[in-house]
Symmetry: D2
Subunit: 331 residues, 4 copies
Amino acid sequence: MNSFGDKWTFTSFGESHGAAIGGVLDGVPAGIVIDMDLIRRELERRAGKGVTGDGLQVTGVSPRALREPDEVEWLSGVMGDGLQVTGGKLVTLGTPIAFIIRNKDARPEDYEWLKTTYRVGHADKVYEQKYGIRDWRGGGRASARETAGRVVAGCVAKQQLAEKGITIHAELIQVGSETDPAKFNDTIASYQRDGDSIGGIIECRITGLQPGVGEPIFNKLQAELAFAVMSINACKGFEYGTGFGGVTQPGSAINAISGGISGGISDGTEVTFRCVFKPTPTTKKALAEIASASSYIVHGSFVHRSDACVATRAVPVVEAMTAIALIDLLS
Amino acid sequence: MNSFGDKWTFTSFGESHGAAIGGVLDGVPAGIVIDMDLIRRELERRAGKGVTGDGLQVTGVSPRALREPDEVEWLSGVMGDGLQVTGGKLVTLGTPIAFIIRNKDARPEDYEWLKTTYRVGHADKVYEQKYGIRDWRGGGRASARETAGRVVAGCVAKQQLAEKGITIHAELIQVGSETDPAKFNDTIASYQRDGDSIGGIIECRITGLQPGVGEPIFNKLQAELAFAVMSINACKGFEYGTGFGGVTQPGSAINAISGGISGGISDGTEVTFRCVFKPTPTTKKALAEIASASSYIVHGSFVHRSDACVATRAVPVVEAMTAIALIDLLS
Amino acid sequence: MNSFGDKWTFTSFGESHGAAIGGVLDGVPAGIVIDMDLIRRELERRAGKGVTGDGLQVTGVSPRALREPDEVEWLSGVMGDGLQVTGGKLVTLGTPIAFIIRNKDARPEDYEWLKTTYRVGHADKVYEQKYGIRDWRGGGRASARETAGRVVAGCVAKQQLAEKGITIHAELIQVGSETDPAKFNDTIASYQRDGDSIGGIIECRITGLQPGVGEPIFNKLQAELAFAVMSINACKGFEYGTGFGGVTQPGSAINAISGGISGGISDGTEVTFRCVFKPTPTTKKALAEIASASSYIVHGSFVHRSDACVATRAVPVVEAMTAIALIDLLS
Amino acid sequence: MNSFGDKWTFTSFGESHGAAIGGVLDGVPAGIVIDMDLIRRELERRAGKGVTGDGLQVTGVSPRALREPDEVEWLSGVMGDGLQVTGGKLVTLGTPIAFIIRNKDARPEDYEWLKTTYRVGHADKVYEQKYGIRDWRGGGRASARETAGRVVAGCVAKQQLAEKGITIHAELIQVGSETDPAKFNDTIASYQRDGDSIGGIIECRITGLQPGVGEPIFNKLQAELAFAVMSINACKGFEYGTGFGGVTQPGSAINAISGGISGGISDGTEVTFRCVFKPTPTTKKALAEIASASSYIVHGSFVHRSDACVATRAVPVVEAMTAIALIDLLS
């Protein structure tokens, strides 16, 4: 339920405003030196703190994301140089790797009013329906803060993939109806000024993948990738190869376009897929407009802590989930 | 690898031109009377033999699909009235249900030339790369004939879902650029006359699903549905709720559209998703055009046994996989 | 529930007096030539038809076991020479291998009286409690007939293990209090004459297993072997290395005895374990004695079709489950 | 690999002399108040600090076990009263529960000499063979310190079981050849004085278990229990019902003894099983005697930190694993 993968598994835990979030990686081989720089860089990319891998300075980022230091504490599965048990150069032992990121900016008191309120477009109500109890502290487990753990796990996966010559690169290719990356920040800023938010499309390319990965029936490579990517908050669709756009084209025009996968199995060419992220629901405008018309919303003034375009920060998460799905198939 | 589900599992087996295809269902409770009529009807719908659930008389269907009688033989897990072990009214025992459909129209000799050839847009080459051996008999395991087993499994799942008040209805909503169902057959026929093929989009709606189904992190309901549907041959994309089209709309306009799922969990409203199917690759035109330009294709004249629009026959398979995914989550 | 293994899985199906028993093997690599002789020999050994691998002519065997021809029909996952789909030399395709053994001597009518009766020492009552319905036809799924499928699966596993230089050999080392194999048949015959039954201990040795197999925490090699062997009907205990007998010995005397496993991981020496099988419950004497004293038993005169010492026929089943557990760990 | 269970899972992590050991529980329902007293009491029982549940004051306990405070830190999945995120009365949220126990008495420097040495009866060598690298710090992952996490997990499982009216009670019934509990401490002390160690047998009884738990084929209740218990360090055998001793008894005498399980399924009577634990290998006497005769041992003088009879401390671990296995089957 909170684990991903069969042979290389990532077990995720932690609430947004609890003590810590974190994870356990099981199936990582011994002898890998953890790339601390990669992890820090990817966590900053996810937090929207710096330039993205695509040279895009992100705007409209949630204030909390920027404030959280996101320091990773390693609890097991790694051993330092000499007698050190943590710190320094960490080498994997082949045993389960547990790590945590403490919630430094947890402010449960900010959310106390949520005890009696459900937010529109959020999972507040369904959580209570499912569990009979609700962690009202900033969305609790449903918060996208949980994706920081996925990014750490993804970095370890990426390191293993890199040793096999496999690289994963995702980038934002559309924001609203804008497809020119140079204009993405302006587009986002205009929605933000308007008290609104906007969605985006991310494209991900996998290079260096050998033929033969994926199973022919249920565990097709595209099904595994879709499962991994659709598990990211706010993702509303997945397509590969000719995708939805291909529906208007005859077979004669597109049959040679495989998207890197034939019959569920990688064919040795670049694998390409796209996924779409909806706008953040917690916006000034959206809440004000809907609140009056809907009994579902009890409270509509909650606006801080949200992103104007969550797709910008989803880019490293898409890479992470892709890496985790692939390394599991290759383990 | 050939099993789907955790608590309600469907294990699939069988090659297109081997002795039989079939499956084992594990986790079906005791006491369910198998609805033979439903199974026969859904198998005919998959074979393109009759009108679809949408009143659409399918055209351009593979000749073999029409010839195969698709008779289901029950081997275990069910007991007939009185002392009968097969036949009559079959009641489930709670033990694994094994069934087979013999390949009556298997013509492996028709495919002998494929021993030394790979077809474009088919999994012929990747299979050989993956397994080191290839079942050249009509695509072997990669053939869509395997989906007949999914339809049988889906019928059992649908019966269990119906008892819980849950119904699943899929229909073709687009063929090529045509969105008027009354014109679908003409559209398909025109591509067929042209020696070509065309794709389609299927929409599926789940009604009666209670709130609380799906897990908040990795096993989100949308991820489970995407995994199930993307495992169908020729499916190139999955979207739900606002989908890819929602990217151009601001959060204020679309935040109340959940597609029936919030935070990965069903919210009690109708669940709606769409999926796209690419055109069948084995067409006269496609093969003729590509064969000369590509060393990948050794042989380009293979045209019999293919569909002009495979999306028409995918409709009951989409329903079946949706039913299987749901009953597993509810078991 | 009816599947064993994670990467090399055996899904079992079939009731004792239904149409057929059988199984699906998933994870078997392509290119293995199925050893039909081995399978026939092991099935005969399980049926008590011939000499066991230990030169023991079995006595006191159930009449039905002797009458069933146990012919294996292969449905998928294998391809014959040339165009043959069954028969001849069968080679695995890498796809799931489905096989069935039809119940030729099924006599459900013999068990009709069981519809209203529970047998002592049998699972009749718990089945009904668990499923709310009962297959009264000779124990249905609880019958040891199901182990024939295990033996077929085990033969395929053994072939793969043999290619890795691993052999498995089990033998009966005790019947009642008798430990001289030459006297086992006489011992069994004496219990049989007395209308009674007796248990036995089987020892199994695995040779050629490389160091490093088994996981250090939960999936220790001994835990996996115990799980596999304890799943056989009538098995009441499992021990390895110093076992239960070692309790009276100080550490200084027995610490070098590993039983082939250290810390849950094979250490490269021969793995040795023992397991004990209880006597068949359905005996003349047992039923007559208990029936009058217990309300649990409604009917006590059912004696045909049972073995005087089921441990004799369990020997190849122990080998099969050991092989299946090992090949899964090595896949 | 480091996870146990399918629906109620316990993922274990941590090396004996790393930063911390711990675990993640997934599948625990919301609304359970964690019984801190039970956890502390059981951890002390495991550490050999106090009287056992059987009134036995344990002797011969490892010094480190006595020194470690074993304080549990809760990281996720629980929420305190009001705004507290840790401390006070903790209530489960239905989300994954992560906890850690920091290694306060970790002394990796004590083990530096082990870098070049393998200890007899330990997993030192096989670990290196399996992983190509070795955590020489006190056995690393192979250390029984890992069982502290099992005890915490087991306490949560026991709480859930208690709500269903199910209780688990294990006790030491034999030490060496002594079966009188009043004499166990003297027996252990005499072996300890002799620089030696001794094994023991634990009996475990499950009361209140409803009929119908366990699956009829592979996942028989006895197989699940054997798997759980055989995964505990130093456990060498498992038996239930008539066990190994029953081999000398005819069917007529023992067929009514089910051990609480019929056909793999609980029958509503008390479930009883026994398991045997071998003596601790790291004893003065054992090492001295064997070291000279075996090239396997490079170093034989390592004696501190070991138990004279590890079976005494295994009692709560047997209960914990039994509880975890049962709650998984009941979830």
